[in-house]
């Protein structure tokens, strides 16, 4: 288990919280030296995952952490909620799968924007999504 260099938790309780999530991810990604394209990918992934936490999870938190490994710097986003959980994870990861009128690109789409991606979900208990990108 790596020890984060820096960490901060933000609430994801209402639509305007997503703006703060995007801002903080942009700030930290810039400070870590990510390219503009990588910053945009990270911020977009955070926006998608934050919306999932808000709409499907009924709100939760985002934990933002930075790491250093072999001269590379990493930014990790962890979105956690105590919502209904995802019954069919494989289907939820498929492009076009949506239950709430979105484009259905939230999970599958954000997975393609990062280097490491993990979803842990238990029906009735909640969901935790971890997404990491390295410089």
């Amino acid at each position: 288990m790596m020890t984060p260099q820096r960490s901060e938790t933000l609430p994801v309780r209402e639509a305007s919280d997503i703006l703060l999530v995007r801002q903080l991810v942009r700030e930290w990604a810039t400070e870590l030296g990510f390219s503009v394209l990588d910053q945009t990918k990270l911020v977009t992934a955070a926006s998608e995952l934050g919306r999932n936490t808000l709409i499907h999870g009924g709100g939760g938190t985002m934990l933002l952490e930075t790491f250093v490994k072999n001269d590379r710097r990493g930014l990790r986003l962890t979105f956690e909620d105590k919502g209904p959980g995802i019954a069919d994870l494989e289907r939820a990861m498929t492009n076009g799968f949506t239950t709430k009128g979105g484009m259905g690109l939230g999970l599958g789409g954000s997975k393609r924007l990062v280097d490491e991606f993990e979803v842990v979900s238990r029906v009735g208990e909640g969901t935790r999504v971890t997404a990491t990108r390295w410089t």
């Binding site: 942009r26 977009t44 926006s47 998608e48 484009m103 954000s110 393609r112």
Partner: protein, 129 residues
């Protein structure tokens, strides 16, 4: 609640998005545009997103919905100024944005809309066979 302003330039409605949009603001813009198109009888909508440094799937879908809604009201929509990093990110995510016309900048977008309007006027003026 704050709203994104819509400017009227003749038959074209011009929207410049300069703030990071949350979902409700995006939805409000869609509603406001529908009203303005119908009230002003606008034939074109130009949306400048050059200041937007993030467009996620929700906002992308909203642009698609606006274009579709405008078409039903007989107006053409052009999205201009998308930042390269935003375009690449959308493609990597698998967001297709089909049905949305795009142009490099406001000038080119305006030219596209005007050309389309002139074309239609020429069709109207053509003698019936």
């Amino acid at each position: 609640m704050e709203r994104i302003s819509i400017l009227r330039m003749g038959e074209i409605l011009l929207v410049t998005i300069q703030v990071d949009m949350h979902d409700r603001l995006a939805t409000a813009l869609q509603d406001d545009l529908a009203n303005r198109i119908s009230v002003t009888r606008a034939r074109g909508v130009l949306i400048d997103i050059s200041a937007l440094d993030v467009v996620d799937s929700f906002i992308a879908r909203m642009f698609g919905d606006i274009a579709q809604m405008a078409r039903v009201l007989d107006a053409e929509t052009v999205l201009v100024g998308m930042q390269p990093s935003v375009a690449i990110t959308l493609v990597e995510m698998g967001v297709a944005m089909t049905g949305v016309r795009t142009a490099l900048n406001v000038e080119k977008g305006m030219a596209l809309l005007r050309a389309r309007m002139d074309e239609e006027r020429a069709d109207d003026d053509a003698p019936a066979e």
